[in-house]
């Protein structure tokens, strides 16, 4: 079966512009996560969806960042008024987590979108 896919693979934009990054999770996975990986750092948690709702958005750095998952499958990460500091690889992961009990469900990552803000 197909893994997690992310589009575009690379995005170059100018400071102040708006961007959308898309994630297609593994079919049937209920949980979806967005992470951001800056150069020389590990992935940093941004937001976690369980179904259509954002169960935890505590990692979003500010109100320029927003993410949606309207039908509980595909998710879009939206960044308004981009800044040079937003340049990073944005990773999406999905897992079959129901939060009904202890969860060690593996998160499967996509290849990421490399965002460059000039």
């Amino acid at each position: 079966g197909a893994g997690v896919s992310q589009t575009p693979s690379n995005k170059v934009t100018e400071k102040g512009k708006y961007v959308e990054l898309r994630c297609d999770p593994i079919s049937g996975h209920t949980a979806l996560y967005w992470y951001r990986q800056s150069l020389g750092q590990g992935p940093e948690f941004l937001i976690y969806f369980q179904g259509t709702g954002a169960a935890d958005d505590s990692g979003l750095p500010n109100d320029r960042f927003f993410a949606v998952r309207p039908e509980g499958s595909v998710s879009t990460l939206k960044i308004q008024r981009t800044e040079r500091g937003d340049s990073a690889v944005y990773l999406c992961a999905s897992s079959f987590s129901t939060r009904e009990g202890p969860s060690t469900d593996t998160q499967y990552f996509g290849p990421g979108t490399r965002l460059t803000v000039l």
Binding site: G40, E44, R99, T104, Q107, G110
Partner: protein, 113 residues
């Protein structure tokens, strides 16, 4: 404040020898730990995990050891193979809460021929 620390940015090991990657954590509430492997231009791939009720978990060439009193875990790869050259991330999380996991900065492992 980094909750998961990988203090060695890189490590070189001869092919066939044992690779030992180390990780320290500060939050004593973490109750499960994972290792991910990452090749360039790919997303992290899950390697092995361990829950805090265990002190060792083994899967083929990969073994993870957990020392809760020292808040330390390590990943052993034996024997090391050329395909093991990658960046390895240690991560930690909380069961029964949400599934957010906290990653370390990673250690780049080079397997030398």
């Amino acid at each position: 404040d980094q909750q998961v620390k990988q203090n060695s940015p890189s490590l070189s090991v001869q092919e066939g020898r044992i690779s030992i990657l180390n990780c320290d954590y500060t939050n004593s509430m973490f109750d499960y730990f994972l290792w991910y492997k990452k090749y360039p231009a790919e997303g992290p791939t899950f390697l092995i995990s361990i829950s805090s009720i265990k002190d060792k978990n083994e899967d083929g060439r990969f073994t993870v050891f957990l020392n809760k009193s020292a808040k330390h875990l390590s990943l052993h790869i034996v024997p090391s193979q050329p395909g093991d050259s990658a960046v390895y991330f240690c991560a930690a999380g909380l069961m029964n809460r949400d599934d957010k996991i906290i990653f370390g900065k990673g250690t780049r492992l080079h397997i030398l021929p």
